[in-house]
C-alpha cells in the first residue's frame, strides 16, 4: 500500500484483510520459514561432512558478503553467496530477505532493494546528464549507467569513427530527461531513426504528455533501446544501443515499480495487439507502456521533421490513449499490492476494470484495489487447487 493513498471504509478494510489472509495461507509453510532478517543465523546442513573452515592467509582477506567457499578436506560442502557473512563459524544474514539454496550455494534474496544488474538484462533508463562522449542514465541502481557515444548508432547509419562534430551533436540524439530502453540481446547494427527530441522539464510531464499532444505542442518523448554491455571498473554500468529491434519508444508512460516484482523472463517486450500498445517490463523496475511503434519504419527525412503541422495530424488516437492509461493504472494497482507483474496479470486486471465498468481514474481508488486483491486471491487458490488436483 505504498504509493496509493487510499482511505478504505470498514467493509473494504475487512475484505482486504480477508483477501490478504487468504494469500498468506496459500503459501507453503516452508517458504515463510525461509525469511530472515539481519543477523539471523542461516541453518546450513552440516551432516554431509565435518565442516572444516580453511582460512586464507589472514582473516581480513576474506571479505564479508562475497562468495566464500567452505572446503572440507577434498570436497566442497557448501558456499555462501550474497547477503550472508561468516561470524564465529556460522552463516549469518546481512540482509532482510528470503534464503535461497541452489545446489550448494546459500544466499539471501532481498525484496525491496534496488536493482541488481546483470549483463543481458533489458532495462529502461532516463538520461540525466550529457557528459563528454557519453550519456549518463538513471536506472535505479547504486550508480548511474553510462551509454557511450561510440555504442550508439549514428543517425546516418554509417559505421565510422566518432568525430568532434558527432560529439557536439549528441544533443540531437538524446537530451536530458529522455527515456531510453536498454535491452541485452545480441545487437544488430541497424540505424536508428533520427527524430527531433525535446526534453521535458520535469518527470511529472511524462504522464501528462499524451494530453499535451492534443494541443499541437511539439513535445515528444523518444525512447531508445540500449544494451547492458558490461561493468566498468568502478562498478557502474556500461550500456550499448545498437539493436533496432525495439526501435524508439514514443508516446507512452514510464512507471517505476520495485524491481523485485519484475521477473527475468525470455520476453520483456510485449506487443498487445488488441490495444495497439507496447509494453516493456524493464528488469530494473521501470516499465514503459506506450503506443505501438512499427519496427523498421523508414527514416524520416530532415524536411519532414521540421514540418510541425504534419506532426499535428499524427496524434495517438483517443482509444489507444485510454488503453495506455488503463494498463498503466493496472500496473500501479498491482505494484501497490505487491503482486509479481506478468503480462497476463496486467491484461487481466485491465479487462476486469472494463467489465466492472470502472472508470480509468477510479482504478486507483479503494474499491478497485480491494477487488483486485480478492481476484488475485481467488486466482492463486484456483491455481493451487489445479496443481494439487493434477498430482
Amino acid at each position: 500500500m505504498r504509493d496509493l493513498n487510499l482511505s478504505l471504509n470498514q467493509t473494504q478494510r475487512v475484505r482486504l484483510e480477508a483477501a490478504l489472509h487468504e494469500l498468506q495461507s496459500l503459501v507453503p509453510a516452508a517458504a515463510s520459514a525461509a525469511a530472515v532478517t539481519v543477523a539471523d543465523t542461516i541453518p546450513v546442513n552440516q551432516e554431509d561432512n565435518i565442516l572444516k573452515y580453511i582460512s586464507l592467509s589472514q582473516e581480513n582477506t576474506i571479505q564479508e558478503d562475497t562468495i566464500s567457499l567452505f572446503v572440507c578436506a577434498d570436497e566442497l560442502v557448501w558456499c555462501r553467496g550474497h547477503g550472508t557473512s561468516d561470524q564465529d563459524g556460522e552463516v549469518v544474514a546481512t540482509l532482510c530477505g528470503v534464503v535461497e539454496r541452489v545446489n550448494k550455494l546459500v544466499y539471501v534474496r532481498t525484496l525491496r532493494a534496488r536493482y541488481k544488474p546483470e549483463v543481458g538484462d533489458i532495462i529502461v533508463g532516463r538520461v540525466i546528464e550529457i557528459a563528454p562522449k557519453r550519456w549518463r542514465l538513471e536506472i535505479n541502481f547504486s550508480q548511474d549507467a553510462v551509454l557511450m557515444l561510440s555504442s550508439m548508432n549514428l543517425p546516418d547509419g554509417i559505421q565510422r569513427r566518432r568525430t568532434a562534430v558527432d560529439e557536439l551533436n549528441m544533443r540531437s540524439i538524446f537530451v536530458e530527461n529522455d527515456v531510453i530502453c536498454v535491452s541485452t540481446i545480441l545487437a544488430l547494427s541497424v540505424e536508428v531513426d533520427n527524430c527531433f527530441i525535446f526534453c521535458f522539464s520535469d518527470f511529472k510531464s511524462v504522464f501528462a504528455y499524451v494530453v499535451v499532444l492534443t494541443h499541437a505542442d511539439t513535445l515528444r518523448v523518444i525512447n531508445h533501446q540500449a544494451e547492458v554491455r558490461g561493468f566498468q571498473h568502478d562498478g557502474s554500468l556500461h550500456l550499448q544501443a545498437r539493436s533496432e529491434k525495439y526501435g524508439k519508444l514514443e508516446r507512452g508512460q514510464l512507471l517505476m515499480v520495485p524491481p523485485y516484482l519484475v521477473k527475468r523472463k525470455k520476453q520483456h517486450f510485449h506487443n498487445l495487439a488488441q490495444y495497439d500498445v507496447d509494453l516493456i517490463l524493464g528488469c530494473n523496475g521501470f516499465i514503459w507502456v506506450g503506443e505501438h511503434v512499427l519496427v523498421g519504419e523508414n527514416v524520416k527525412t530532415t524536411e519532414d521533421r521540421q514540418k510541425y503541422s504534419n506532426e499535428a495530424e499524427n496524434f495517438t488516437p483517443l482509444e489507444t490513449r485510454k488503453h495506455i492509461c488503463r494498463l498503466a493504472n493496472a500496473i500501479r494497482v498491482l505494484s501497490a499490492l505487491g503482486f509479481t507483474l506478468t503480462v497476463e496479470l496486467i491484461i487481466e486486471t485491465a479487462e476486469a476494470s472494463v467489465s466492472s465498468n470502472v472508470e480509468v481514474n477510479d482504478m486507483l481508488g479503494a474499491e478497485f484495489y480491494v477487488q483486485t486483491a480478492e481476484r488475485e486471491a481467488k486466482r492463486r487458490a484456483a491455481l493451487l487447487r489445479k496443481k494439487k488436483g493434477g498430482r
Partner: protein, 242 residues
C-alpha cells in the same frame, strides 16, 4: 518532585523503573524512499527515510572511493515539542545528533559492498517526548533493513537514567528534564558490541555500570521487537508477491 513513588515504586507515568515505554514500528511508510520506517517509543514518534545506494551527488564529499558515503540528517518538526520550534535543523543540537546517528549506523553498514555510491538517512522527529536520539537510531535501522542495505547487525538504542537513587529505563521528557544523568547506549544487538555511549551529568562508576547494564537490556528487548517486525514484513511481501 518525586520521580519514583517511594510507596508504590511507580514512576511519573505509571511505569516501573525497569519498564520501557510501549514500542510500535511500521515499515514502508514513505512511498518514494528506498526504505522507510515509523518508530514510536511511548509518545516519541520518529520517521526515518533512507535513499540509496545511489549516485554520489556531490563528488567533493567523497573521501574514500572504495566505500559508500553515508549521510545523515536529523531534524525535529516544528510541531514536535510543546512550544513551536523556531529552528528545526541547523542548530547545534541537531548537527550533533546527526553526526551521532551517522557514526552509529556507519559501524553497522557494510560500506565496501557499495563503492562509489551514497546512502542518505533522513530522520525527522514528529513528536518529542524524551529519547528522540534512541528512537531515531531504531527507526534508521528499520529503514536501512527495509531498503535492503547490507548490515552487520541490527543497531538498537535505548536510554536510561538515575533519579531518586533508582536506575530508570527509557526516560520520558519529564524525567529527562529533571537534570539527572541520562545515559544513551547504542549496541549491535547480536554481536553485543557498543557503538554509541553518551551521558549527561555525572555518575559514580558503579552506579554507571548498573545504569548502562539496564540500558543494554532495553536495547536487546528493542532488538527482539525490531526483528519480529522485519521478519513479518518480509513474510508479508513474499506472500503477496506470489
Amino acid at each position: 518532585m518525586e520521580y519514583v513513588n517511594p510507596l508504590t515504586g511507580f514512576r511519573v507515568d505509571g511505569r516501573r523503573p525497569n519498564e520501557m515505554r510501549q514500542l510500535k514500528a511500521e515499515v514502508g511508510v514513505v512511498a518514494r524512499a528506498d526504505g522507510s520506517a515509523l518508530f514510536e517509543m511511548g509518545n516519541t514518534r520518529v520517521i526515518a527515510a533512507v535513499y540509496g545506494p545511489r549516485e554520489i551527488q556531490n563528488k567533493g564529499q567523497q573521501v574514500n572511493n572504495k566505500e559508500a558515503l553515508v549521510r545523515c540528517e536529523y531534524r525535529m518538526a516544528e510541531f514536535s515539542t510543546g512550544d513551536r520550534r523556531r529552528k528545526p535543523k541547523g542548530d547545534r543540537r541537531s548537527t550533533e545528533i546527526s553526526l551521532v546517528i551517522r557514526q552509529t549506523m556507519e559501524a553497522s553498514i557494510l560500506k565496501d559492498l557499495m563503492p562509489c555510491s551514497q546512502i542518505d538517512i533522513f530522520v525527522q522527529v514528529l513528536q518529542a517526548d524524551g529519547g528522540t536520539r534512541s528512537a531515531c537510531i531504531n527507526a534508521a535501522t528499520l529503514a536501512l533493513a527495509d531498503a535492503g542495505i547490507p548490515m552487520r547487525d541490527i543497531v538498537t538504542s535505548c536510554s536510561a537514567g538515575y533519579l531518586c537513587s533508582t536506575p530508570l529505563l527509557d526516560l520520558n521528557y519529564v524525567e529527562d528534564s529533571a537534570g539527572g544523568p541520562d545515559v544513551t547506549v547504542g549496541i549491535l544487538a547480536k554481536m553485543d558490541k557498543v557503538t554509541l555511549l553518551q551521558m549527561d551529568a555525572k555518575l559514580p562508576m558503579d552506579t554507571f555500570e548498573s545504569v548502562m547494564g539496564l540500558a543494554i537490556e532495553g536495547c536487546k528487548a528493542i532488538a527482539t521487537y525490531i526483528r519480529e517486525v522485519l521478519l513479518e514484513n518480509t513474510k508479508r511481501l513474499e506472500c503477496q508477491r506470489g
